[in-house]
């Protein structure tokens, strides 16, 4: 790089560091010489490294140092010496030790053990006395003491210790806060050829403009000056944007697809009576889907109210003998109580039963849709959630038929990104014919099951609508479409709300 351009691109921190680069080779020295803080000096070095002025090498250095107690002992003497000193003149009782020595009970315990093992004291009948050997060693400087003095004055690494010193070090390490091993990370640097040239260059000739400030603009001081060059190729710190949750991005898209196809949105509660969730849909009261293990029933409140008596009567007739539809019905005694149970909706089809009940003759032909959460009482694992997204569409049209159902479905799934769909017979208590929809996954090149559809049975439609108008209905799950799109393997990740996942998740782009 041209040295002049390099000089122009120097940041003020780099400018402060450059004059000292030839006089030192590590971060600490540079800080001392340049009076830069650690963070500033480090940033300057990193930027200079980016500019290929120098190379940074990180080294780890271990140093043996005095810890808190070690510093105190260096000044006041080791506790064992003070202990022995106190015994020089008199015999002490165990109880009187604290007062006489001025040591803590922990320290006394250490001293007793230590001095006894050195045969410097004698403990008998609750009294402690010094031995002759004890008196003898009291007059010498101990190895441990010499060691403390030595490391206090130097930065020795563990490798530099003599075997005796190492022995003392190991003993002290077992005791509380006498010595420690400090691990220092040393940043050394080495100038490149470019760096050597930079150090020799004149870096102070021109005054350059750094940040453009309102003050600089106001006084025009930027005129006739050069601007410091920035490293425009540098990686910048990431910033975070505000963002919709990715699940909501996808469900909003589903809404848009429905609206484009002329459907009107249905709304309704998540908490329903079984009457709307099951009975109005001709699901018999002993159907396995109504059993506890699949369905979230409410403990408090446990029972709700049934709607208009006439409607209830019509539904009851339908279950018991098929009303006036010509159906046999399910042929059992329909009861109020199971219909009053409160349930978290098990499917968005409950919205269709509410909607059908609210329509009158002049309202159709009509098309409705819903997108929303449904619930299933099961344990969480990678492929099961107790809350799942379903999307639901119905077409109420006196001229609707099975071919239309297939037509709507094909178009709907094509808009969701699956141009190939195939249909298989299936079974739901409230539709006839019933369909299972498979779509061809364009990437994995295989058929994927996406949900159910059908034509509502007359036993469903007649009591709600007043006449048996054909109603086409489909209610595919939506989670699978989302997990496929976002590349999520564990379905729990849909609602993990890990902010870094939310921040980095790709945008819904269909």
């Amino acid at each position: 790089m041209d040295i002049n351009r390099l000089v122009e691109s120097l940041h003020p921190l780099e400018r402060k560091a450059v004059p000292f680069l030839s006089r030192c080779n590590n971060l600490k020295e540079l800080m001392r010489l340049s009076q830069l803080s650690e963070a500033e000096a480090m940033r300057a070095l990193q930027w200079l490294e980016n500019k290929q002025v120098l190379k940074i090498h990180a080294e780890v250095k271990e140093t043996v140092r005095l810890d808190n107690n070690g510093k105190v002992y260096l000044e006041k003497g080791l506790p064992e010496r003070r202990f022995l000193d106190a015994l020089r003149m008199k015999i002490l009782t165990m109880k009187g030790l604290t007062e006489a020595t001025g040591l803590s009970s922990d320290e006394i315990a250490v001293c007793l053990g230590l001095l006894k093992s050195k045969a410097a004291i004698l403990i008998e009948g609750g009294v402690v006395s010094i031995t002759d050997h004890g008196k003898k060693i009291l007059d010498k400087e101990w190895l441990e003491e010499a060691f403390l003095k030595k490391i206090a004055g130097s930065d020795l690494g563990p490798d530099a210790l003599t075997p005796e010193e190492n022995f003392a070090f190991e003993i002290f390490r077992k005791r509380r806060e006498i010595v420690k091993l400090d691990v220092d990370k040393i940043k050394r640097f080495e100038l490149t050829e470019l760096g050597k040239a930079l150090v020799d260059a004149d870096i102070e000739p021109k005054e350059t403009v750094d940040r453009i400030t309102p003050a600089i603009l106001a006084d025009g001081s930027w005129r006739n000056k050069s601007f410091r060059r920035y490293d425009v190729e540098i990686n910048v710190p990431k910033i975070n944007r505000g963002k919709r949750h990715f699940v909501n991005q996808a469900t909003d898209y589903a809404r848009q697809v429905w609206i484009e196809m002329g459907f009107k949105e249905m709304e309704g509660p998540l908490v329903n009576t079984c009457f709307w969730n099951f009975d109005a849909l001709f699901v018999p009261q002993d159907h396995p889907a109504r059993e506890m293990q699949d369905t979230f029933y409410m403990k408090n409140p446990a029972r709700g109210k049934l709607p208009d008596h006439k409607l209830v009567e019509r539904i009851k007739e339908m279950h018991e003998h098929g009303g006036k539809t010509g159906s046999l019905g399910w042929q059992y005694r329909w009861g109020d109580d199971p219909a009053k149970k409160i349930v978290l909706r098990t499917h968005t089809t409950v919205l269709s039963s509410h909607t059908l009940a609210s329509l009158k003759g002049s309202d159709w032909p009509a098309k409705f849709f819903a997108v929303g959460h449904c619930f299933r009482n099961e344990a969480l694992d990678w492929s099961h959630l107790f809350e799942f997204n379903q999307t639901e569409g119905i077409v109420v049209d006196p001229n609707a038929n099975f071919k239309h159902l297939l037509g709507y479905l094909k178009r709907f799934f094509a808009k969701l990104g699956f141009p190939q769909a195939r249909f298989r017979p299936a079974y739901f208590p409230y539709t006839e014919p019933s369909i299972e929809i498979d779509v061809f996954h364009p990437v994995h090149k295989k058929w994927v099951e996406l949900g159910g559809a059908g034509m509502f049975r007359p036993e469903v439609v007649e009591p709600l609508l007043g006449e048996a108008v054909p109603v086409l209905a489909w209610g595919p799950g939506f989670d699978r479409i989302m997990t496929e799109y976002y590349g999520i393997n564990d379905i729990r990740d849909l609602y993990k709300n890990d902010l870094s996942q939310l921040r980095s998740m790709k945008q819904w782009m269909r």
């Binding site: 975070n240 505000g242 963002k243 919709r244 949750h245 699940v247 909501n248 909003d252 809404r255 196809m261 002329g262 459907f263 009107k264 949105e265 709304e267 509660p269 998540l270 908490v271 979230f296 409410m298 403990k299 408090n300 409140p301 109210k305 709607p307 010509g326 159906s327 042929q331 409160i342 978290l344 032909p365 098309k367 619930f375 009482n377 344990a379 107790f386 809350e387 077409v395 001229n399 038929n401 099975f402 071919k403 239309h404 037509g407 178009r411 249909f423 298989r424 017979p425 079974y427 006839e432 019933s434 299972e436 034509m455 049975r457 007359p458 609602y495 709300n497 890990d498 902010l499 870094s500």
Partner: protein, 552 residues
């Protein structure tokens, strides 16, 4: 849904034609069953609950053979009169009132066939019989039984017999606690003064439906060639159809069906009755329903592929079909025989206007405004738990509770949104700060006046979490949001246990409080294990939407 394992060799023989695995893979799903897979000689299929007659190898093969055009039309089964009686005592009326019975003779049992029969029985128990609650099936070796047979109810302390695979005789009541089947199905009889029993003419107990057979008189062995079959339950028609499913499968194994005379207190009935039910074929209705233009002949041919007969304008429905309630059920079978893959998909030219719910439009706009402020939207569950909703927040909201939730961490419906955001902050302590998040969603309160006893409303919560978070910052967000919505509001001093006293305000629109805004109490932060301040607000979007609408 139950899966049935079919042996390919037996299946091919029953079907009368051998198809390649690929053909089976292609055709089996199109008859209305899920093919789980073909492995070696095993074909595993999942049968839908509307077709209990396909739960046996014989029944499945019968349907499939017709579907692929080998043996089409109604199968005729001969029922001979046995003249044998079953006396049904009036005492069963309050326990398990109905039974349908038959004899099947000339069976050649081997291990494989015994297993097959037990499979049919078990699959029917689970599905059609609703785990024996609605209906239970008993099959007994005829050579160990003295006819006629009695069906009666009696004090369970007074009846003793040796239940299947049990070493000794015990009382009927003891069976409920001592026998594995008793422990599994005993709840179906619990609390009844009398239990139902079958016994033979020699007063030997045959079984105690729906729990267990006798070891002596109720165990099928390879030497068995004649059996007594009973289906007992709460609905005579269901019992009859179930019996028909079993005896036709046994007839397909080579057995001969004999009827029995059931002496009920109110008259005599004879089972099994394999005469087909008749229903007038409504050709125009089916054509309209399916969008087809089939002639009567075409339709009859298609129905023959689904095992139906036809006579003088009437469809003959096999006596083992339980699912034909209405003409639409025939329409579906016509569609299946026609082939779902052969229908043209059409979109009719019907004009309707697409429309998003106004509230959803509003809710999305609110989200967009907040995103403009750099906030990140979260999406959490509607389900929560009492410690999160109340204890950690130092509040005392009444909660809507779920019954027997599998996950105890998710056993109530949330009363408010802020705890959900606090949980998100708690789960993200290792991520970068500031963490400024929001979410709107349903919350739930008890409400005696509503249909369900629950009132649902949508709320919006915003939480700012980071070293510089304070009351001013969060109130700025409220202010910015409401002014973007062109909504005047008043804030007034409030009290709320989750917030610092003196740093929480009500937010009111049109003199109605719609939420609160403030700095979270440090104790709440400690309860959530947070080491950063949080300032937050929660507003009722339902309330705000109403207020804005009322202005128009």
């Amino acid at each position: 849904m139950p899966t049935v394992k079919l042996n390919k060799k037996v299946f091919n023989k029953l079907v009368g034609k051998e198809l390649s695995d690929d053909q089976l893979r292609e055709r089996i799903p199109m008859i209305g069953t899920d093919l789980e897979g073909i492995e070696g000689d095993d074909i595993n299929v999942e049968v839908f609950p509307n077709r209990p007659d396909m739960l046996s190898e014989q029944g499945f093969a019968r349907a499939f053979s017709a579907f692929i055009g080998v043996k089409t039309g109604l199968r005729n089964y001969d029922v001979k009169k046995s003249g044998s009686k079953v006396m049904i005592d009036a005492s069963v009326k309050d326990v398990r009132p109905f039974t349908a019975c038959a004899l099947v003779k000339n069976l050649k049992f081997n291990d494989e066939k015994i297993r097959e029969i037990i499979q049919i029985q078990e699959k029917l128990h689970v599905t059609f019989g609703r785990n024996r609650k609605k209906l239970a099936i008993g099959i007994y070796p005829l050579e160990k039984i003295k006819l006629p047979i009695k069906y009666f109810a009696a004090d369970p302390n007074k009846i003793k017999f040796r239940p299947l695979e049990f070493p000794s005789e015990i009382t009927a009541l003891q069976i409920l606690s001592q026998h594995p089947a008793g422990r599994e199905y005993g709840h179906l009889l619990e609390g009844k003064e009398k239990f139902p029993f079958f016994a033979d003419a020699g007063d030997n107990i045959l079984s105690m439906p729906p729990v267990i057979n006798s070891h002596i008189t109720g165990k099928i062995e390879e030497s068995t060639s004649e059996v007594f079959i009973e289906c007992s339950g709460f609905d005579f028609n269901t019992c009859k159809i179930c019996l028909n499913i079993i005896v036709t499968a046994m007839a397909d194994m080579g057995g001969e069906i004999y009827s029995m005379e059931l002496e009920y207190a109110d008259g005599r009935k004879v089972t099994p009755d394999l005469d087909p039910r008749k229903i007038k074929l409504d050709v125009p209705f089916i054509n309209k329903w399916l969008g087809l233009k089939l002639s009567e002949k075409d339709m009859v041919d298609l129905l023959a592929k689904m095992g139906y007969g036809f006579d003088m304008g009437f469809t003959l429905i096999p006596a083992y079909r339980a699912d034909i309630l209405h003409m639409v059920d025939l329409a579906e079978d016509v569609a299946i025989a026609y082939g779902y893959e052969k229908f043209d998909a059409e979109i009719p030219n019907v004009a309707t206007i697409g429309q998003e719910s106004e509230f959803e439009t509003f809710r999305r706009r609110v989200s967009e405004i907040l995103i403009g402020l750099g906030l990140l939207e979260t999406s959490t569950y509607n389900l929560s738990n009492a410690p999160d909703q109340d204890e950690k927040m130092m509040t005392d909201f009444p909660l809507v509770e779920l019954e027997s939730a599998v996950n105890i961490d998710y056993n109530v419906l949330r009363a408010w949104m802020l705890p959900s955001l606090m949980k998100v902050l708690h789960d993200n302590k290792s991520n970068d700060y500031p963490q400024n998040i929001f979410e709107s969603g349903n919350c739930f309160a008890l409400d005696k006046d509503s249909e369900t006893g629950v009132c649902e409303f949508c709320t919006l919560a915003v939480a700012l979490c980071g070293p510089d978070t304070d009351f001013t910052r969060i109130k700025q967000v409220v202010d910015c949001l409401l002014s973007a919505l062109d909504c005047r509001y008043v804030s007034s001093e409030a009290e709320h246990p989750s917030f610092i006293p003196g740093r929480v305000a009500y937010v009111s629109v049109n003199d109605t409080i719609i939420g609160h805004v403030g700095e979270l109490h440090p104790q709440v932060l400690v309860n959530w294990g947070l080491e950063m301040p949080v300032a937050a607000f929660e507003l009722s979007l339902t309330g705000l939407f109403k207020a804005l609408k009322s202005r128009q």
